[in-house]
């Protein structure tokens, strides 16, 4: 923080503290100031409005509520040209319009390989087989009788920002960075279930794996090393306090903290303890990273530290002219907790340290703010995350230097928004 408060010309860029002090002092006075500039009284104030006169809706009007109609543009969006068919496709979380860190289930991105199925709790079965002492079958009701835990984790598709490898393509934070959501999960540690089946048969656990698959037609099988399986993987049935939505794997999904979203198998129906990776299609032909020399990296499960400014951004332009401006965004790391986020307004020449809304939590989204006084001039906005391993989010140039141009997955580069003096923003690459 010290760079921020001492490193800037205080008249042009007031420090965060000075800004907050000023805002607090103004307090309710802000309204007065606006009123002082108005030529005529505001009819919204001087005239009795319909909503202030008559009734609103009664309590039972909407037994389960949707957002008010004025927010109906805050929805998941699809990029049609990306995939051949919507049942094996992805859409994007409207991160440009959200704040805080928890993603409501109804607008959290979806990725299906053969569509979101409808599976009743009564029809749900979870099998554990393979190298276990007693292969078991659990019903949904069985799962609810094991001790359960609550954890907040982000889930990011390995292809998030993947379309940006070769160049700036999609104009909006929703499209460049919206293959992510962050929810509070309730579920049973996978370790508990594996121990219920018994792991003596598996012998030395160091070289063992689990293979997990879903109940949907794609089955989306993935192999996970036993170490991770016994560490923090969760068999979850609630998200943000309520049942998982259909599109998020109702009634039960796997949660694999910090690791690529494809491993978070939805509608999970089977967990097999094995002595090798199955090397399924999703872990060989897909979700592997081809380097410049044609050799591909595999088993690149952890999602590295990453951040993005969500506002201002192409879908969230500045509409108020110069003066107080909240620059905000999200940061996350699959290898730990976010410790710091820096923001640059000049394309990476100089950086200021942003304020974290709360201390970073392991493998969960962190919200950052840079409360600033915009001079109305063009900005090249960037954000740069650091996590508790000391890792610093790289530039696109740094990533390309190591991986080349043919990679698709695991693009965690620094993003640039060109914000023009009229407040509009565009996705760009900079030198």
């Amino acid at each position: 923080m010290s760079e921020n408060e001492t490193g800037n010309d205080s008249s042009a860029h007031p420090s965060r503290r000075a800004f907050l002090r000023g805002a607090a002092a103004a307090g309710a006075g802000a309204l007065t100031a606006t009123g002082a500039n108005a030529a005529t009284p505001d009819p919204l104030i001087t005239e009795v409005q319909p909503w202030a006169q008559a009734f609103g809706e009664g309590v039972d009007e909407t037994p389960y509520g949707m957002p008010i109609k004025f927010e109906d543009d805050v929805v998941r969006r699809n990029v049609e040209w990306l995939t051949a068919d919507t049942v094996s496709s992805i859409n994007f979380t409207p991160i440009h319009a959200l704040d805080g860190t928890i993603t409501p289930q109804g607008c959290a991105f979806e990725r299906h390989h053969s569509g979101a199925i409808e599976l009743r709790k009564e029809d749900y079965r979870l099998m554990i087989n393979g190298l276990v002492d007693t292969p078991l079958v659990f019903s949904y009701a069985d799962l609810e009788r094991f001790p359960r835990e609550n954890h907040v984790y982000f889930c990011e598709c390995a292809a998030n920002t993947g379309m940006e490898w070769a160049g700036a393509q999609l104009n909006g934070a929703q499209f460049t960075h919206g293959m992510i959501h962050n929810m509070e999960y309730t579920g049973v540690p996978l370790r508990t279930l594996l121990e219920e089946a018994g792991l003596d048969t598996a012998g030395d656990l160091k070289d063992k794996w689990i293979f997990v698959e879903g109940a949907d037609a794609s089955s989306n099988g993935r192999s996970i090393p036993m170490e991770k399986a016994l560490d923090d993987v969760l068999v979850a049935f609630k998200a943000n306090g309520e049942a998982l939505r259909k599109e998020h794997g109702y009634p039960v999904r796997l949660v694999v903290p910090g690791w690529e979203g494809n491993m978070w198998v939805k509608w999970i129906r089977r967990i097999e303890v094995t002595d090798q990776a199955v090397e399924s299609r999703e872990e060989t032909s897909k979700y592997t990273d081809v380097l410049d020399n044609g050799i591909a990296r595999k088993w690149t499960w952890a999602m590295d530290a990453k951040s993005v400014v969500t506002s201002p951004s192409p879908q969230a332009p500045i509409t108020h002219g110069k003066g107080p401006l909240v620059i905000t965004g999200l940061a996350w790391s699959g290898r730990g907790a976010i410790t710091r986020v820096d923001v640059s307004k000049d394309g990476g020449m100089t950086w200021e340290t942003a304020r974290l809304a709360k201390p970073g939590e392991k493998m969960a989204l962190t919200r950052f703010y840079l409360d600033t006084d915009w001079d109305g001039l063009e900005m090249m906005l960037q954000s740069r995350a650091m996590d508790d391993t000391g890792y610093v989010q790289p530039t696109k140039a740094q990533l390309r230097e190591v991986r080349g141009l043919n990679s698709i997955y695991h693009n965690n580069c620094i993003q640039t928004w060109l914000v023009r003096s009229n407040g509009e923003a565009e996705n760009v690459e900079v030198s």
Binding site: V137, K206, S219, G221, E227, S280, G294, K298, T350
Partner: protein
């Protein structure tokens, strides 16, 4: 994997596992029966674990592939539109835009068998017999010039096939290749040698989906159009409806389902919605992008009478050269008649 397992977390985790306090059992769940495990445990591993007894060759495979796979993957496994290409791409992995197919990229043949058996055909998963899967895998290998057409692929010959990119993978090396150089106190001031310039703009490509208003308005419009075309259909339908034949047709229609939807909630997919198609005008489903030849035929007044439809279904590409429908065709006349009867039942 070895590096991964050297981490200090390992000690802690396995320490917990061996502790009896953590190994408490709750007595929940029930023992899985062998028949249940056999029904669900179908995965196949690189060393052949899980590979069933069976066999098939590329000649059998070609026919099955044409029926079950070619609608998306093309007759020669070359892929249609955005659907995955399964053949070709040899030697492209270090080029710009590498073509990653079973032949050029997949390191293990087991993956192909495993995926087709568990997840394909698209929209009709888990319906292929073991021999059919062997035959399809053989056809894909043949399409990639990896086997001859007389090679019989079986659980016994499986490892005679060499996968060209078997050695094309390394384990995650980010710790050495990336983390070391991207760790530490980052630059805060004067971080670039010269003034920062914009080098590429997303607006130039213009591939971002349109804004909300336009996208949302498009859908109701399409629905109205469908309703409008559905009405004249009953007058043109030629024969009396046969529910038994329609029931048979519903089964045949499984072959069509990965591309075509019917019913109230039907949406266009890689093929148009087929509600009201029998007896209706060709090329009129709202929101579907027809091929040029189909548009021309529609403009020429083509009506999908039962006769025309049967001719189209028998050999789509011969009936209408350049049609987007890549389905090989329904050879049996009985199947054609059945599926048409079924389509009549979803008319309104």
């Amino acid at each position: 994997m070895s590096k991964f397992l050297r981490s200090t977390a390992l000690v802690a985790v396995f320490g917990l596992v061996s502790s009896p306090a953590m190994a408490e059992k709750f007595g929940l769940g029930r023992a899985a029966l062998p028949a249940e495990i056999a029904a669900w445990d179908g995965d196949v591993s690189p060393d052949g674990t899980g590979l069933p007894v069976g066999s098939g060759d590329a000649i059998d495979g070609e026919e099955i592939f044409a029926d079950q796979c070619a609608a998306c993957h093309g007759d020669f496994a070359e892929g249609i539109d955005n659907w995955p290409k399964l053949a070709g791409g040899a030697g492209t992995l270090d080029h710009e835009d590498p073509l990653k197919t079973v032949g050029s990229y997949w390191p293990y043949l087991s993956t192909t068998y495993d995926y087709i058996k568990r997840s394909m055909p698209y929209g009709n998963a888990g319906t292929l017999s073991d021999d059919e899967v062997y035959a399809i895998v053989a056809y894909i290998l043949y399409s990639n010039d990896l086997i001859d057409d007389d090679f019989v692929l079986s659980n016994e010959t499986f490892f005679d096939v060499e996968m060209p990119n078997a050695d094309g993978f390394i384990l995650d090396d980010r710790a050495e290749a990336e983390y070391a150089q991207w760790t530490g106190a980052p630059c805060m001031e004067n971080c670039k040698d010269s003034a920062v310039q914009v080098t590429m703009r997303a607006m130039v490509l213009d591939v971002t989906p349109q804004e909300e208003g336009e996208a949302l308005k498009a859908e109701p419009a399409a629905v109205v159009e469908e309703a409008a075309i559905a009405e004249p259909a009953p007058e043109v339908v030629e024969a009396v409806f046969d529910p038994e034949l329609a029931a048979k047709g519903e089964k045949v229609f499984k072959k069509c389902k990965s591309c075509h939807q019917v019913g109230e909630k039907a949406k266009n997919r890689s093929g148009p919605v087929l509600n009201g198609v029998v007896g209706g005008a060709a090329g009129v489903v709202g929101g579907f992008k027809y091929s040029k030849p189909m548009k021309a035929a529609a403009e020429g007044g083509l009506i999908w009478t039962e006769t025309e439809l049967a001719a189209f279904l028998a050999k789509p590409k011969a009936y209408l050269k350049g049609t987007k429908m890549s389905f090989a065709g329904l050879k049996k006349e009985a199947d054609q008649r059945a599926v048409i009867e079924y389509l009549k039942s979803v008319g309104e």
